[in-house]
C-alpha cells in the first residue's frame, strides 16, 4: 500500500532504513560517549587549561603527568589496594556461601524449604535502608566500626539475589548426574564439590562479576563504616578528594577515570555473560 505511493524500489527503502538506523545509533552513541570523553580530556589538561573559556576539546599540551600526580596528592594507590582487598574477600565469601546455599535449595529436600526460599526472595523486595541503622548499631557494639569487617562478614552469608541466580542454574543440571555419583558411593558434599560446582562454573563467573562490580562501586557502606582515610576505598577516596580540592578538576577526572577502569575491563571480558546472557535467553522465545 505504502510502496505504491513512493517512487522508491524495495532496495532503496532497505538502503534508506540502514542509513537512518546508523544515523540514530551514532547520534545516541555520541551522547553517551561525551561524558566519558570529557572525563578523559579533562584528565589530560593542566589546571589552567581546565578553566579556559570556551573549554578546550583537545588538550594541548597533554598533561600525562596528572595520573602520576593523583598518586602523589592522595594515597590513591592505598585506596586501590584497600578496594581490591575488599573485592577479593567479598568474592570468596559469596562464592563459598552462595554455592552451598543454592545447592541446598536446589537439590535437598527438607521441611520448610519452599517457604524459606520464598522468604529469601521476598527480602529482595524490602529496601535495605531499614536495616542500615540497626546494623550500624550492631557493628559498632561489636567494635567493628572503622574496620573492614562490616564490609566483609555479611558476604559470607550469601546475597539472596546471587543465591537465586545460582539455584536456578543448578536446577537446570540433570539430577541423573548426582544419582550416578551417589551410586558410586559419593557423599552429598562430594556430589556438591565434584559434580555440581564444576558444571555451575558459568553461574559462578556471574557471581564473581556481579560481586566485583558491586563492591568496587559501593559508596554508602564504606562511607558509614570507614573513618580513617588510609582505609578508604576508591569511591570513598574520590568523594573525599572532591571535598578537599574542588578546583583540581584535572586530577579529579584522572582519578575518576582510573576508578572506572577495573569494572569496565571486567565488563568487556564478561559482557557476553552479562548482557549477551540476557539477549540469548531472549532469542530462545
Amino acid at each position: 500500500m505504502r510502496l505504491s505511493k513512493t517512487p522508491l524500489g524495495l532496495r532503496q527503502i532497505k538502503w534508506l532504513n540502514t542509513v537512518t538506523g546508523y544515523t540514530i545509533l551514532s547520534i545516541l552513541a555520541v551522547l553517551f560517549l561525551v561524558p566519558l570523553y570529557w572525563m578523559f580530556s579533562t584528565a589530560l589538561k593542566t589546571q589552567t587549561q581546565t578553566f579556559a573559556i570556551p573549554p578546550e576539546w583537545i588538550p594541548d599540551p597533554v598533561a600525562w603527568d596528572n595520573f602520576a600526580a593523583v598518586f602523589r596528592e592522595v594515597p590513591f594507590g592505598r585506596f586501590v589496594i584497600n578496594t581490591a582487598f575488599l573485592v577479593v574477600m567479598n568474592i570468596i565469601g559469596q562464592l563459598v556461601s552462595v554455592t552451598l546455599v543454592a545447592y541446598g535449595f536446589a537439590r535437598l529436600r527438607f521441611p520448610g524449604r519452599d517457604v524459606l526460599f520464598l522468604v529469601m526472595l521476598s527480602t529482595l523486595m524490602i529496601p535495605y535502608q531499614i536495616t542500615l541503622v540497626p546494623r550500624f548499631i550492631l557493628f559498632s557494639k561489636l567494635g567493628w566500626v572503622n574496620t573492614y569487617l562490616p564490609l566483609i562478614v555479611p558476604a559470607f552469608t550469601g546475597s539472596p539475589f546471587l543465591i537465586f541466580l545460582v539455584r536456578q542454574y543448578i536446577m537446570s543440571i540433570p539430577f541423573d548426574l548426582d544419582e550416578a555419583a551417589y551410586i558410586d558411593g559419593a557423599s552429598r558434599f562430594t556430589v556438591f564439590r565434584k559434580v555440581i560446582l564444576p558444571l555451575a562454573r558459568p553461574a559462578l563467573a556471574l557471581v564473581v562479576v556481579f560481586t566485583f562490580i558491586d563492591v568496587w562501586n559501593d559508596f554508602l557502606q564504606p562511607l558509614i563504616y570507614l573513618n580513617d582515610p588510609n582505609m578508604f576505598t576508591v569511591s570513598l577516596g574520590l568523594s573525599f578528594f572532591q571535598g578537599q580540592r574542588e578546583t583540581n578538576w584535572n586530577l579529579l577526572m584522572a582519578a575518576s577515570l582510573m576508578a572506572m577502569v577495573p569494572p569496565l575491563v571486567l565488563f568487556f571480558f564478561a559482557q557476553r555473560q552479562l548482557i549477551g546472557g540476557i539477549s540469548v535467553e531472549g532469542l530462545k522465545g
Binding site: M1, R2, G21, L25, L28, A29, F32, L33, V34, P35, W38, M39, I53, P55, V96, S97, V101, G104, R109, F110, P111, G112, L116, M120, T123, I126, P127, I130, T131, L132, V133, P134, R135, F136, I137, L138, S140, P154, T157, G158, P160, R188, I213, F219, I224, V234, L236, L238, S239, Q242, W249, M253, A259, M260, F267, Q271, I275, I278, E281, G282
Partner: protein
C-alpha cells in the same frame, strides 16, 4: 509424641520421615545455614530492632531513652526537612521513572535493528551503567559547571544561555535526572531482551493486515513488552527511593541550594550517621519502607489493567 506437638505441621512432617529423609533434611539445613544465619543476624533481627529503636531516642553512646510515638509525631508535624525530603524524592520519581521507561524502550528499539556492528553500539550504551556512581556523578558535576562545563558550552552554540545547574535550586533535580538517564543503558538491555522475546509472526501477521510501523509498535510491541515494563517500574520505584550517591556528590551532604537535592536517603544518612540520632533515623527508615511497600502493592494491583501476560489464564 503428644497430640499437641503433632498439631504443628513441621513436627508432624518430621515425625513421619524415614531416617534417610531426616539425614537429608539435616544436610539441607546445614547447606543453607550461611544464608539462614545471615538472614537472622543481618536482616530479620535488624528489622525488628529497627522497629523498637524507632520508639527511642538514642545516640549509641548513652543508653536509649523510650519516647513512645514522639519520633513519628515529630516527623509528621514538626519536621520541615521530612516534608522537603519527601517532596524532592517524589518529584524525582514522578519525572525520572516515565523518562526511564521511554528512553529505555526507545534505545532498545533502536538496538533491535538487524545491522552490522550493533554489538558495538550496545556496549557503548551500556557502559555508563558500569561506571562507579561516584565517578559518574563527579564527571557530571564538572560537565554541568556553569562557566567551564561542556553542557553550557554546547547550549551556547545554539544561542541558549545555560543555567547555573547545580547552583540553582530549580535545576538541581533536572541535573540529577540527566545524570541518572546517562545510565539508562542498564534498563535498555532488559527491554531489548523483552523485545527479542516477541514472536516475529505477530509482526508478519500485522503487515499482511496492512498495519504500519507505528500501529505495530502500539498494538504489538508495547502490550507484549508490558510485563518487562512492569518489572522495571517496580524495580525503578524501589531504586528511586534509594537514590543516595548522586545526591551526595552532586547536591552535597546537606542537599544543595535550599536543600533542593535533599533526597530521602540523604536525609536518613544525615540524621542517623552525622547527628547520630538512631531512633529518629529508624523511624524515618520505617516510614519509607512502609511507603515503598504500599506503592509496590498498588503497582502490583494496578498491573492487571495494563500488563498483558500471554500465558495468563483469567478466572471466570
Amino acid at each position: 509424641m503428644s497430640a499437641v506437638a503433632r498439631r504443628i505441621p513441621f513436627i508432624r512432617q518430621w515425625a513421619d520421615m524415614t531416617p534417610a529423609e531426616r539425614r537429608e533434611a539435616v544436610a539441607g539445613y546445614l547447606f543453607i545455614s550461611p544464608w539462614l544465619i545471615g538472614f537472622i543476624l543481618f536482616f530479620a533481627g535488624p528489622i525488628l530492632a529497627s522497629f523498637v529503636i524507632s520508639f527511642t531516642k538514642w545516640n549509641i553512646v548513652s543508653p536509649p531513652e523510650w519516647v513512645g510515638l514522639n519520633n513519628y509525631r515529630r516527623i509528621f508535624t514538626l519536621d520541615p526537612n521530612f516534608k522537603k525530603a519527601v517532596t524532592v524524592t517524589l518529584t524525582y520519581a514522578i519525572f525520572y521513572l516515565p523518562l526511564e521507561v521511554v528512553c529505555g524502550i526507545t534505545i532498545a528499539v533502536v538496538l533491535n535493528q538487524k545491522l552490522r556492528g550493533i554489538g558495538v553500539f550496545r556496549t557503548i550504551y551500556y557502559m555508563p551503567y558500569i561506571v562507579p556512581k561516584v565517578a559518574a556523578s563527579l564527571v557530571w558535576v564538572w560537565m554541568l559547571n556553569p562557566r567551564y562545563g561542556v553542557v553550557n558550552t554546547v547550549l551556547s552554540w545554539f544561542g541558549i544561555q545555560g543555567p547555573n545547574w547545580l547552583g540553582n535550586p530549580h535545576y538541581v533535580l533536572p541535573s540529577i535526572i540527566i545524570m541518572a538517564l546517562w545510565g539508562v543503558g542498564g534498563s535498555a538491555v532488559i527491554y531489548l531482551a523483552g523485545l527479542q522475546n516477541i514472536p516475529q509472526q505477530l509482526y508478519e501477521a500485522a503487515m499482511v493486515d496492512g498495519a504500519n510501523r507505528i500501529q505495530q509498535f502500539f498494538k504489538i510491541t508495547l502490550p507484549m513488552l508490558s510485563p518487562t515494563i512492569f518489572f522495571q517500574v517496580v524495580l525503578g520505584l524501589i531504586g528511586t527511593f534509594q537514590t543516595f550517591t548522586p545526591a551526595f556528590i552532586a547536591a552535597g551532604r546537606t542537599g544543595g541550594p535550599l536543600q533542593s537535592g535533599l533526597f530521602y536517603m540523604l536525609y536518613i544518612y544525615n540524621v542517623s550517621f552525622r547527628s547520630m540520632r538512631m531512633g529518629y533515623g529508624s523511624a524515618l527508615a520505617w516510614i519509607m519502607s512502609l511507603f515503598i511497600l504500599v506503592v509496590t502493592i498498588l503497582v502490583f494491583r494496578s498491573s492487571r489493567y495494563w500488563v498483558y501476560y500471554e500465558a495468563e489464564r483469567k478466572q471466570k
